[in-house]
């Protein structure tokens, strides 16, 4: 068995974190991406820039600010304490909050591009046939934007699996709670357990390759179905 029980716990936790983040991001980002795709508001530029910030900010910056804002004297920390939830750093849900921010552009941008590519005409056609706004959205826009949803799901999942800096700053390395695979690899390397590190690191490379290959295949499939 190449993986220790601690490695397996880290793998399970990572998959749970990535799946939770992916589902929440798809729910939260769909209205945001829709708005970005259709609005003429002067806020469109600033909001797009904020959404893209995690692409360029070092994860240590995100992690550092989250540690402070979610801490006992930070605004988010005071709010969660007022709710009776305590503070979020060193908890699974703290990592979820960090991952939502860290992976935000990977969910918003594919959805936004998919909505923009649909254009107004199918929606206007549906409207002339008497479909209401919600009906138009769920029966016309969502099915047409399906490749965008698939891309957003895959990328936000995979990007969360690859998260390291934010987790390191927020997590506190607690087995089964915040010790994800990337942190476990880092620990193995620092403890000079290079064989264990190789198994997990190699697993990450294979996983990432398969995900990106799968993404490529779904895109080609989607392109082919549009041509048909």
């Amino acid at each position: 068995m190449p993986f220790t029980s601690a490695d397996l716990a880290a793998i399970g936790l990572t998959l749970r974190l990535a799946a939770t983040t992916m589902v929440l991001l798809l729910v939260l980002c769909t209205p945001l991406a829709w708005w970005l795709a259709h609005t003429r508001s002067r806020w469109r530029g600033p909001v797009s820039a904020v959404v893209a910030l995690p692409l360029v900010l070092p994860p240590t910056v995100i992690g550092f600010y989250l540690l402070i804002t979610m801490g006992p004297s930070g605004p988010l920390g005071q709010f969660t304490q007022w709710l009776g939830l305590g503070t979020l750093p060193f908890t699974f849900w703290g990592l979820v909050v960090g991952s939502l921010i860290y992976s935000l552009p990977f969910a918003v941008q594919p959805l936004q591009h998919a909505f923009e590519a649909i254009g107004q005409r199918p929606l206007e056609a549906a409207a002339t046939l008497g479909a209401g706004p919600l009906d138009r959205f769920f029966t016309v826009a969502v099915p047409l934007a399906r490749p965008g949803f698939i891309t957003a799901a895959i990328l936000s999942f995979a990007h969360t699996v690859g998260e390291f800096g934010v987790v390191l700053m927020l997590g506190g390395n607690i087995p089964g709670v915040t010790r994800v695979v990337s942190v476990q690899i880092y620990d193995h390397v620092e403890a000079l357990e290079y064989t264990q590190a190789h198994w997990l690191a190699g697993g990450m490379v294979v996983f990432s390759f398969v995900v990106l290959l799968g993404l490529n295949l779904t895109r080609r499939h989607a392109a082919a179905s549009v041509v048909r």
Binding site: L67, L168, L192
Partner: protein, 227 residues
């Protein structure tokens, strides 16, 4: 020019020592701060550091055995001291009884598997018979600097950090602290070594000499190190 890999706990005194070293000798010192285990991995893979100031004895010894450090250049430049510290005044008493009363949610320590100050913290808890009780509340920093950050930001109510991190100019900075008696853990001997790329580098040799001198040692003592 000498390029130095410095253990994270030694950051504050080393910045002062390097400034004094540059003023007194005219040599330049470039400092990199981090975890000793990470430096080990980098040095064995060809990192161009001239001198290693490790947080432990084992890493320099291992590098010498593996031919990455120049033989017979190792020495203990400082002995570290451990402190149980909280950013809140009054939380930590001067006997460490707070560890038994348990009025806290998280206690931070450096990862005992990789960091000498974390290993010492674990020994203290074991000696007090509290390791198993406290373990569910542990949060582990990657190195002692991150551990300090967990406590300083208040996310962990208290934690084991290096005395040097909460002490400046011979005084405790803020919050509350228990200076852990050295009898509760094995001494934290921090060793230096001249690395292969530093062989024949006058600045590197001068720095190792300077670390043994009175000026460097008084800076270390002001930061709570035994020197």
């Amino acid at each position: 020019m000498v390029s130095v890999a410095v253990a994270a706990n030694f950051t504050a005194p080393m910045q002062k020592i390097a400034a004094a070293f540059e003023a007194d000798t005219g040599h330049q010192a470039t400092l990199s701060f981090g975890a000793s285990g990470k430096f080990y991995a980098q040095i064995t893979h060809g990192a161009p550091f001239h001198v290693l100031l490790s947080a432990d004895e084992a890493t320099p010894a291992r590098l010498e055995r593996e031919g990455k450090a120049v033989a017979d250049t190792r020495f203990t430049y400082a002995t570290g001291a451990l402190v149980l510290w909280s950013a809140q005044p009054g939380l930590v008493d001067d006997q460490g009884a707070v560890l038994r009363s348990g009025g806290f949610r998280h206690i931070a320590l450096a990862n005992p598997k990789v960091a000498p100050y974390g290993a010492a913290a674990l020994q203290v808890m074991e000696k007090m018979g509290l390791a198993a009780t406290l373990q569910p509340r542990w949060v582990l920093g990657e190195n002692i600097a991150q551990t300090f950050q967990f406590v300083a930001s208040g996310n962990a109510q208290l934690g084991f950090v290096a005395l040097s991190q909460v002490m400046a100019d011979g005084r405790m900075a803020q919050g509350s602290a228990w200076r852990v008696p050295a009898s509760l853990h094995a001494p934290i001997r921090q060793d230096a070594a001249l690395l292969l790329p530093g062989r024949g580098n006058a600045a590197a040799v001068a720095l190792l000499q300077y670390l043994r001198g009175d000026k460097a040692r008084s800076i270390m003592r002001a930061h709570g190190y035994g020197a």
